[in-house]
Each structure stands twice: as C-alpha cells, then as structure tokens.
C-alpha cells in the first residue's frame, strides 16, 4: 500500500475511533437491556440498514470531498493508474468501517461469551463480517453515486437492495454480500477516471456498468408502479380499497372464516350443502397459522424469532445454541448458567442434540423441521410429542386444541392428533387423521376449519404471489370424517382482481432480466419445501407484449445507435441487449449514451464595411 492508503486511514481515524466507541457503547447498553444474540429478524434488518447508511454517508462524504476539480486533479496527479488510487482510498475506508462496525460487534459477542451465561454461537461472530460487508457495500454505493454519471449512478444503488431480498443464509449470505461488494468495487474502479461521469468505453466495463443499470431501471419501474398504487390507495379511489370484487382472490384473503367456508361450500342446492352451511353459521371457525415463512437453518446468521423460552416455575430461560444443538439454561434470578441432570437441554429423555434448529412457540412448545417437542418442567426434558413423516417439513400449527384434536400441517399434509393425549404424558402421539394439502406450500394463504359431528370441514386457500402473477388462486373445501375418509368439494378457482398486465408488471417489461433478478434472489440459498410454488404460465397476450417490446426496443436501439458514435462491437452489443432485455436495455442505452451535442454552425464572417 502506498502513502495514500495510510493518509486516508489517518484522515478518518478519529472519526472511526469515535464511531467505534459510540458503536461499542450502544451495543454495550443494549446488551445490558436485552440479549442481542436472540433478536427477531426485523431487529437485525434494522441494524443492517443503519450500518449500510453509515457506509453510504462515508462514501458520499469521501468522494464528495475529492470531486472538486482542483482536488480531483491533485488526487489523480500521481504516477499510478487511477484504479490504483481508487483501490487505496476504498481499501482504507473499508478497513476503517470494518474496525468501527465489525470490531465492536466482535468485542460485544466475545464479552458476552466470556462473562455471561448467554448463548453466543459461531454464527454470532459472523455478524461482524456481515455488518462490515454491509457497511462496505453502502460505502461503495455512495462512492459510485458520486463518481458515475449523474444519469445512471444512483440506479446502481439497487444492487445492495438485492441483499434485502436475498434468501441466502449463513455463509451463503456472507458470500452474497461479498459478491455485491466486489461488484460495487469493480464499478467504482471503472468509474474512477479523470473524466468523471463518462460512459465507459471498454466493452467489458461498459457491459459491467450497463447490467446493474438495466436492473436498476427495471426495479425503478416497479417501484414507480408501487408508489403509484400506494398513492392510489391513499387517495381512496383504488378499486380494492374497500369492498373487493365479489368472488375474487382479494375478497377470499380478507373474508372472515365463516364467509370463506360458506363461499367454498358453494350454493346450498343439495342436502349436504344445506347442512354444511347451517353448521358453518353456528360453529366457531379455527384458523391455522404458519410458524415461519421458511424453516430455520443451522448456523444462519439471524433468527425468524427469538430462539428461547422461559420456565416460569424454575425461573430459567432456555436459549437454543446452533453450535451445540441444545438449549442452554440461564437463571433469570442472577443470570448464571443452569443445567439439567443431563447438562444442556436436548431432545427427549437423553437430551440429544436437535437435528435442526428448534424454534420455541406457544406455551412450552418447540418445533424443529419435523417434530413438535413439549417442555416438562418437572423432568426438565423436551419430549417429542407430534411429528410429521420425513421428508415433510413442519409448517404450522393450531396453538389451541381444535375440538378433540390439535392440528399441525407440513408442506404436504394437514394432521390431526388426539388433544387429550397431547395434554397428558410424554409420549409421541400418533396422527389420527391425515389430509393431503391440495397445493404447493409456498402458495398457501390460509387454512380455516370447523369441527363437525364426526370430523372436520377444512378450507384451503391458495394464491400467495398471485398479485405478482406467480400463482393461480383457488379455494378447496374438504370434508374429512373420523376415520380419515376424505370428500373434496369442487374446487373454486378465484380470479385475481385487476388487470393482468398490472399483476405481471415484473414480467412483461423484460422477461429475461426478471428471470435474472429472481435467480439472484435465491443465489446461494438452500431450497425450502415451504417456499415451493407452481407458478402458472404467463398469459399469452403478455408474452406477446413482452416479445413486441423487445422487438420495439431492438428497432429503436438500431435507430438510436445509428446516431451514436459507437464502435461496431458496442453497437452490436447494444442491439443484442435491447433485443434480449427489452425496454430496460433501451432506457439504459439512452442513459449511458445521451444524444451527441449538436453545435450550431458558426455564422459566416461578414467583412466590416470600411
């Protein structure tokens, strides 16, 4: 490293030191109040947003201070290539951010590990690099915004937005963050040229810049649509604002249980349906909720919910450790460690480690991906009580008994277990009834049911993602009797309210780019059966529209490129991009290659009359 790197370190060292101290103070204070290692996802997201914002401000400030013409000239007037200067400046700031952001996190986690009985796993130490990477992404995004062309620089900010929607977890999430960091770093190096804001000329640099700008255009387009819809709703004139259209998907999602079941039963034109309608009118409708969007994974950085529960009688808090696969006891009275006669609290009589992370829910209940465990304070054991067969994954449960049964559902079936057995004893209760789920788990919206004299009437509503064109909504009402015999009533297909073009807004502007963005969302993420979907094919009209838009983009790009001073390779590249990616590529072309300035011909000199 050159002097520039150390000079930049010295320049910001006081700020970094102050930030680190402040950061450490805040974390220390919060650690006194709560267990930062056991916060819900939203808290970690909030922390991540703050770290990103700090990096962003630093990037803006740093590059803002250098971009004044004289300073800029002075900066670049060195016997090293510009990219090297950029690298040293950026590296210095990234090091400072890592020290101010990651350092206090490491110190806090280490202190908690050393001086308290709280659970600190290896994954918690990984939060330090994760937070540093986020701050680094923010820094590079801020730097690029000031270095790149005014027309497209800000659009690259969407690259870090990918981290917010990414479903990668654990080390995968870190790799994803690192990739974004490297991509942003590459863009900064490309943009760090004497002539700031100039469109890159080298084909590779141009392509590397154009691709995120295209994605940015696409997302900006969607975001504009989102803002438009929000404004519409706020104005009170949105068609779905009050009473949704009858018989549609939106109405079904908002309906109370009785109304939904009644709609699913259909017209009372035979004896069975008349009886069912009458029973629904009189009965209490039970709703089954999901435990989580997707199952927790070993060593993921965050928790869907705090992985802890309290034994009020013994005044002990049990906290799950991803490292040991068991719950560790912390006395609520003095914060000391608490052990059972087997040591930490594991599964069953022997206290073996849980095969997957165990998420507490309800009153003394803990769920892994396949089993519900029940805590017994007397024996200090977590007894396996309900289980779904492999390879099914537990998805949700009714916390209170539904008549004679407690109900649990997996990605594939709804199970009923004897509630009285579940209330007594410590044994694994066998399932009495199994009802196959009629749709993919990722599209399930709600399950409503009533007890019947001998069995249940169950309504399944599917269609999660339908408003984005990713699911075909339907409702299926099923009768199951005490012996498990199933009678399915005719399925009710539900139209998605509103024009199809609106729901497929993500698709038709650029099908290929949309597929790339969706692929990036799930990059490095292990697939979850709970997120499984079966998206219907896009409407033919919209596919034709998308094709037409690509062709239109191609034609317009061709016309545009003829007026631009592009190399043949660049021209063919843009034509290919516009044909493949459609409108976003065309807009990007306009952003990166504005119309060449036209100089008006100078007036002819007229000799002065002597």
């Amino acid at each position: 490293m050159s002097d520039l790197f150390f000079a930049e370190l010295r320049r910001f060292r006081s700020w970094a030191l102050a930030a680190a101290v402040l950061h450490l103070t805040v974390l220390g204070f919060l650690t006194r109040m709560v267990d930062l290692a056991q916060q819900p996802l939203v808290v970690y997201r909030a922390f991540g947003a703050v770290y990103f914002a700090i990096g962003l401000l630093l990037g803006l400030y740093q590059m803002g201070s250098y971009r004044r013409p004289n300073t800029w000239l002075q900066l670049l007037h060195r016997p090293v290539p510009p990219w090297r200067i950029a690298l040293e400046l950026a590296t210095a700031c990234l090091v400072l951010l890592a020290a101010a952001i990651g350092g206090p996190i490491l110190i806090t986690a280490g202190g908690q590990e050393l001086w308290t009985a709280r659970v600190v796993d290896f994954r918690h130490f990984l939060l330090a690099p994760a937070a540093s990477l986020l701050a680094g992404c923010g820094y590079l995004a801020g730097a690029y915004t000031l270095l790149a062309g005014r027309r497209w620089g800000i659009l690259v900010l969407v690259l870090p937005a990918l981290l917010a929607v990414s479903t990668a977890g654990g080390v995968g999430a870190l790799v994803m963050q690192l990739l974004v960091l490297l991509a942003l770093g590459g863009l900064v190096l490309i943009a760090f040229e004497p002539e700031r804001g100039r469109t890159p000329r080298r084909p590779l640099a141009l392509a590397a810049t154009a691709l995120p700008v295209m994605v940015g255009v696409l997302i900006t387009f969607r975001f504009a649509g989102f803002l438009f819809e929000m404004g519409w709703i706020l104005a009170g004139s949105h068609p779905l604002n009050s009473t949704p259209p009858p018989g549609g998907y939106v109405e079904a999602t908002r309906a109370d249980g009785k109304a939904l079941l009644a709609a699913g039963i259909g017209p009372a034109d035979d004896e069975l349906r008349r009886q069912l309608h009458a029973e629904v009118r009189l009965s209490e409708v039970h709703a089954l909720g999901r435990l989580y969007e997707r199952e927790p994974r070993r060593n993921e950085l965050t928790n869907p919910a705090p992985m802890e529960f309290d034994d009020a009688e013994r005044r002990v808090r049990w906290v799950f450790s991803h490292d040991s696969g068991r719950f560790h006891g912390v006395r609520l009275t003095d914060g000391g460690a608490h052990l059972t006669d087997h040591g930490d609290l594991g599964a069953g009589a022997d206290g073996t480690p849980f095969p997957t992370p165990a998420l507490p829910f309800g009153d003394g209940l803990v769920a892994t991906t396949s089993t519900v465990y029940q805590y017994d304070s007397v024996s200090q054991r977590l007894w396996p009580r309900l289980a779904v067969p492999a390879p099914e994954v537990l998805a949700g449960a009714a916390l209170a008994p539904v008549g004679d049964h407690v109900a649990v559902f997996s990605d594939r079936a709804l199970y009923f277990y004897d509630a009285r057995e579940f209330g007594l004893g410590q044994h694994l209760v066998p399932a009495r009834l199994r009802l196959p789920m009629p749709g993919p788990a990722g599209e399930l919206v709600r399950i409503d049911l009533i007890e019947r004299l001998d069995g249940y009437l169950v309504s399944f509503l599917y269609g999660a993602g339908a408003l984005d064109g990713r699911a075909r909504p339907f409702q299926e009402v099923v009768l199951v009797d005490g012996q498990g015999a199933v009678q399915v009533l005719p399925r009710r297909e539900l139209p998605v309210d509103g024009p199809a073009a609106w729901h497929h807004l993500q698709f038709w502007p650029s099908p290929v780019l949309n597929a790339l963005a969706e692929g990036a969302e799930t990059l490095f993420a292990a697939p979850s059966p709970l997120l499984a979907t079966a998206p219907p094919p896009r409407p033919v009209a919209l596919r034709l529209l998308a094709l037409g838009l690509c062709l239109l983009s191609l034609v317009l790009a061709f016309l545009r490129s003829r007026r631009l001073p592009l190399s043949p390779a660049a021209r063919w590249g843009w034509l290919a991009a516009c044909g493949l990616f459609g409108l976003p590529a065309l807009v990007t072309l306009f952003l990166l290659h504005p119309a060449p300035e036209r100089w008006a011909p100078a007036p002819a000199a007229t000799p002065a009359l002597a």
Binding site: E271, R274, Q275, A278, E279, R281, L282, S283, E284, A349, D376, V378, S379, W383, G403, D404, D418, R420, E421, L424, G425, Q426, H427, L428, V429, E451, R452, L453
Partner: protein, 700 residues
C-alpha cells in the same frame, strides 16, 4: 277439566304417598300436618300465593364456604366469599371475634391437619399449608395432576400434619391413556417441609387408605380391571385382596375407615345387598352390615366420622327424605338432642372433641346454616349466620314433596313435586325437570331452578326414573340401558300422566327441561311425546346419547364411579354391547330430527367436557335446515355446569321467557343490560329477539 290421554287413564292412577315420611320431608310451616299426598297438595294450594321474587334471590350462593371444624373442636376455619374475593377466616368455637388468616386465596376447600396446627388449602391444581402457630412449614405441599397425575386422598390420619396423595408413574414414551400401558401407583405421605414418603406402591389405582391405631397402613381401596377392591395390608407390606365388587353408578365397596386394632375395615357400598349401606369387613372377608336404611328405600348417603377417634358415628340418608342415625348410643343421644332443636332438617355433621359442627340445609331455604353443638351441655348455638346472604323466611317458598308412583309396568318409582302455593294445581302449568347423569338422582335439599319455577306458578315434577341412583342397585339396574325412547323415558312420561291424573298440572300446558341427560330427555320428549310436552328447554343436551357415551368413553376422563373409567362401567350399566349404543343412536332425537314438532330452546357450552359442543351444533343445524322452531344459545367460555351468576341467571331467564311465551306463564322481568347483552351475544339461532320480553331489546 281437560281429559287425559287414554293410556294415562288406564294407568293405575294411584299416587302413592311415602307414608310416615312425608311429614319428615319438609318442615311444617303451619299447624297443618299432612298425612296423605292429597292433603299435602291441598295444604300447599291453600297457602297464600307467593309474591314473585326477583331472579337474584334464586342465584344466592353461600358466602361461607368449606367450614371445617378442628379435630379438637375448638376452632372453626372457613372460606369467606366477599365481593368475589375468597379469604380464609378462623373463629374460636368458645366465642370471640373471627380473625382473617388470608385476605385472598384461590383455594376451594380447607382441611385441618391431625394436630390442628396447620390448615391445608386445597385448590384445583395444588395444596398449600398454612401454619397457625408460627411454626415453619408454610407454602406449597404438592401440585395436583401434572405429569404424575397426583390425586389428593385426604389428610393423613396418622402423621401430625401431612397429606395422603397418590402419584402415577408411566414409563417415558408410553401413552397414559392406553389401558394397556404399564403403570405404578404410589401412595405418598407429604408433610410440609418434609420430603415425600412412599407408603405403598401398587400396579392398581389407589382410591383410599386406612390406618390402624398404631399408625400402620391396614387396608387399601384399589381399582382393578374396573372393579373396586378392598385389600388388607400384611405386616410385610404386601396386600391381600379381601373383597372386590363391580360398582355400577355408586360405590360397590368403598373403603372408608378401619377399626383401631386394624382387624376390620369399614366399607360403604352395596356389597351383596340391594341398598348401599355401611358394613364392617373383617380381614377374613366376613361382612357384617353396620347400618342400613331402616325404611328400606334409600342408599346410604354419608357416614360421619369422629375427627379425633376416626370411628364412624352417624349415618345419613337423603334419597327420599333426610334422616340421620347414630351409630353408637352416645351419638344417638346427641343426635336426638340436636334434631329436637332442628326438627325435619337436612343435617350434616363434623364431630370434634369439644364441639360438633352442624350444617343445616333445606329444600325451602337457600344457603347453608351452621350451628355449634356443645356435647357436654347439649346446647346448640347458631354460628356465622350473620355472614350468609339475606335469606327468605321459610314460608316464602314452595315445599319439595316426595312423590312415589307406579310406572306403567308396575315398577315403583320416586320423585319430587313442587306445587306452587296459592294456585289451583290442576290449572297450573307443569314443568318436568329431568336430572342429569342419568346415573344420578334428585335428593332432598335446595333446588334453585325448581323453586324459581314454583315461585312463578309452575308445578315442577322431578322424576327419579329407573336408572337413577340412591334407591338401591335393583332400581339402578332396572333401566337396562334403555335410555332412548324407551323404558326410562316412559317412566318420566308415566309420572307426568299420574300427576295429571291426580289433578296436578294442566295437561295442555306441559313442558320439559333439564341439563345434560335431562336435556337429552327433553329432546326425546319433544321428539317422541309431542302429545305430552308442548315446549322444552334443554341445557347442554347430548342429542344422541349413544354417540355421547362413545365420545365420553373415547375422548374424556369421564367416569361414573371415581377411579373407574367409564368404559369399564358400561357393561354394568347395560350399555356394554356396541349394539345397545347403536340402538340408542337409532332412537336418538338426532336421528329423528324431522319428527320434532315442538319448539325447543338449546343452550350449549363452549368448554363442555361431557357433551361435545359440536354434537349440539350439528343437531341445531339439522333442525334449522329442516325449518324447525329452534333457538340456540352458546356460551363460549362455559363448562358443563353454569359457573357464574350471569350464566345461571340466563338459564332462569330463558326458562321463564320460554314458558311465558309458550305456556302462558308470568311475564319475566326484563333482563338487565348485562344479561341482555349476553343473550344477544350468545344467541346463534332463532328469530331475532324471540326470547326478548319487556322493555329491553335483545338482538343477536
């Protein structure tokens, strides 16, 4: 006079009077003493008509709960319910101010330790100890139920201050509901601040334990294969079965005590006789009846033991009339003194060394009235009367008249009748109030619903149809499981017809009501005997008794006799064969919903562990689809029995309003705002405001 149905006229329209007992069945309110049934009815009708009392009067509950005399008889502890807060109080029986020991407790009962130095406070989930002399040992003694399914047997009669508790051990991973699961039961002695002591272990459920004078465990009451067993404990700690019996719906042979030398046990049950009685059971199996009903009509209801000696002193019978008998000459002498001062009352006793606590309950006066009896002086003095809610003079309510009649097949049956004073009984509407169970019975004592209805001018008939308890094993078993539209229901209808034949009740204005099995009988009556019953109000009714039995056997902890699962009692109750329950299903009101022609009001409970809510909802839905006149109320948080005052008032109001609407009874006072809101909230079926009367609108 309206004519009776032909069948009723052909019955032996003879209403039998339990001669010699009727006078003891109620306290004389006037100089007139009835000697025949007709005289009793005539006396009632000649009494001045009752003023209509507010519903609240019939909702009164005792403020003093669980009064408990210390073994030495010097102190009386009680729970006092004031403003819905229950506190623990203590008063010296020699006199003096009562003092409050606890401002608030969740206990529902109290019990003295043997040495009188601790009070045990018993709640649904735990038992705590309260030291009275400043000694250590206060706090939780044991949790009840829980993983070990602990059950409280009672206070240890040997240890100075301990409880006897049973615990159940099931191997981890085993289903405790599976009858085949191996399990161990432990008899535990739990003393404050001492570790548990296991007194005995058994593979059978331990129901009771008796200790000899040396404090050694002498006898055990066990349950084995659905039978009650009395076993002697040998010096080596083993057990030897002495006798076993199949309980039907009352104790077959329940161990309740022992002689001080441990040579014999005291057993309460039927044993080999028809009527439940007190017997001495020697270790060699010899049975010596100790006391049985001298009238030969009733099962033994209660045995009172001396709190200091542990010997039985009194035997009480309450099935038809209340009568108590001394089991030794001294007890008989004291009893005679007491009953001379409190004649013709339903009395219960606690016998301490220096005082007796005498508790008086009456059919025509709400509440429980306590007296302290000084056996040395033979004096009886009221105690804590000032704490009981304001009560009514005894003349303000109707009398509960024992009523015996002959069914159409010649079987002699018992029941009770309330005749509204001051009314012509022949023109008064008749309400048939059927008891629940059905393995249960109406006995002497206060009955708020019947008194409420009588106060409104209704004749109330409470039949103890065959299958009811309290009248001997033969009476109980005579039902032979025929609880559909068969023999049992015919007993009820026979009683109604005999009453009408005797000029009691207007045949054109007859209703039927009841809770649980009584509700089921209500539905049977409205479905199959519409010519008799014009309207019905059914509380927590199983619309299909066969289904309900199966459901209770499968899904609940229900039992007819403590410790004996219902499934093990079915055979003795005539319902052991699946065909018998299938027949009940075929004959059920649910299966014949289309036949219902009379209006019916159904009240169901959301947390009912005896009658599945869904069974009532399904039936109501079926009636609704068929276009029947059905009104349904569901109390979401209520259990099988109405627990709070508002729920109880709702029941009274629904009875009053329904019978006003359909039988021309008096118009009920409008419901309070709170009650009106509850009615609106709980009504799920029926015409809007159907039940509303008066000025308050009730809208579902």
């Amino acid at each position: 006079m309206p004519t009776l149905p032909h069948r009723a006229r052909t019955l032996r329209a003879v209403v039998l009077l339990a001669f010699g007992q009727l006078a003891a069945g109620f306290a004389p309110a006037s100089a007139e003493e009835p000697t025949t049934w007709r005289q009793a009815v005539a006396i009632e009708s000649r009494r001045p008509a009752l003023s209509t009392l507010p519903r609240a009067v019939f909702l009164q509950r005792p403020n003093v709960l669980s009064p408990r005399l210390s073994p030495d008889g010097r102190r009386l502890a009680y729970l006092l319910d004031r403003d819905d807060r229950v506190g623990l109080w203590l008063v010296e029986t020699a006199g003096g101010e009562a003092r409050r020991l606890l401002a608030e407790t969740d206990a529902t009962a109290a019990a003295w330790s043997r040495d009188g130095r601790f009070l045990f406070l018993i709640s649904e989930r735990q038992v705590g100890a309260l030291p009275l002399d400043g000694q250590p040992g206060g706090g939780l003694v044991t949790a009840l139920r829980g993983a070990e399914r602990r059950r409280l047997l009672g206070v240890d009669p040997v240890h100075p201050a301990a409880l006897l508790v049973t615990a159940e051990d099931v191997a981890a991973g085993s289903n405790p509901l599976d009858p085949g699961t191996p399990r161990r039961f432990r008899l535990l002695r739990l003393a404050p601040d001492e570790g548990p002591v296991t007194l005995h272990e058994s593979p059978h459920l331990i129901l009771s334990a008796a200790f000899d004078g040396d404090g050694q465990l002498a006898f055990l009451g066990l349950v084995d294969g659905g039978e009650q067993v009395v076993a002697a404990v040998t010096p080596s700690g083993g057990v030897r079965e002495i006798t076993r019996c199949t309980p039907v719906a009352a104790p077959g042979c329940r161990l309740i005590g022992t002689l001080p030398d441990g040579s014999a046990a005291f057993v309460h049950g039927h044993l080999e006789e028809n009527f439940g009685h007190l017997a001495r059971l020697d270790r060699d199996g010899t049975v010596q009846p100790w006391h049985r009903d001298p009238h030969g009509e009733a099962d033994l209801d209660e045995v009172t033991f001396d709190l200091t000696t542990g010997m039985p002193r009194l035997a009480s019978y309450r099935s038809i009339v209340a009568h108590v008998h001394g089991l030794d000459s001294e007890a008989a002498r004291h009893l005679e003194r007491i009953t001379r001062q409190l004649p013709n009352r339903d009395l219960r006793f606690q016998i301490g060394r220096e005082r007796w606590l005498v508790s008086e309950r009456n059919s025509d006066r709400p509440g429980e009235w306590l007296h302290l009896y000084d056996p040395a002086r033979g004096r009886l003095a009221p105690v804590l009367h000032e704490l009981q809610p304001d009560s009514l003079p005894r003349q303000a309510l109707a009398r509960k008249l024992p009523f015996a009649y002959e069914a159409s097949d010649g079987h002699r049956l018992h029941g009770f009748v309330f005749v509204p004073p001051g009314h012509d009984p022949a023109r008064a509407p008749l309400i048939t109030q059927v008891h629940g169970g059905p393995w249960n019975h109406v006995e002497v004592g206060w009955d708020a619903v019947a008194q409420f209805l009588a106060n409104r001018g209704f004749v109330v008939f409470q039949p103890n149809f065959r299958g009811s308890t309290g009248h001997g094993r033969d009476y109980l078993e005579a039902a032979r499981g025929d609880f559909g539209n068969g023999r049992v229901q015919q007993d009820i209808v026979d009683g109604v017809r005999q009453l009408m034949a005797a000029g009691i009740g207007d045949p054109q204005r007859v209703a039927i009501t009841g809770g649980s099995f009584g509700g089921y009988s209500t539905l049977v009556g409205l479905t199959f005997q519409p010519e008799v019953f014009q309207v019905g109000v059914a509380f927590v009714p199983p619309p299909d008794f066969g289904w309900a039995i199966d459901w209770n056997t499968r899904e609940t902890d229900g039992s007819v006799v403590a410790g004996v699962p219902l499934r093990d009692s079915l055979a003795a109750l005539g319902l052991g064969a699946p065909e018998s329950r299938e027949r009940l299903r075929r004959e059920s009101p649910r299966a014949h919903a289309a036949r219902l022609r009379r209006p019916v009001v159904l009240v169901a409970a959301g947390r009912d562990d005896r009658v599945a809510l869904r069974s009532v909802l399904h039936y109501a839905a079926t009636l609704d689809v068929l276009g029947k006149d059905v009104t349904l109320y569901v109390e979401p948080e209520a259990g099988h029995a109405a627990a709070d005052d508002l729920s109880r008032e709702m029941l009274l109001y629904l009875l009053e309003a329904t019978f006003h609407r359909h039988l021309g009874g008096p118009e009920p006072a409008p419901p309070s705002q709170e009650l009106a809101e509850k009615l609106a909230r709980d009504q799920r079926l029926g015409n809007e405001g159907q039940i509303a009367v008066g000025s308050t609108q009730v809208r579902p």
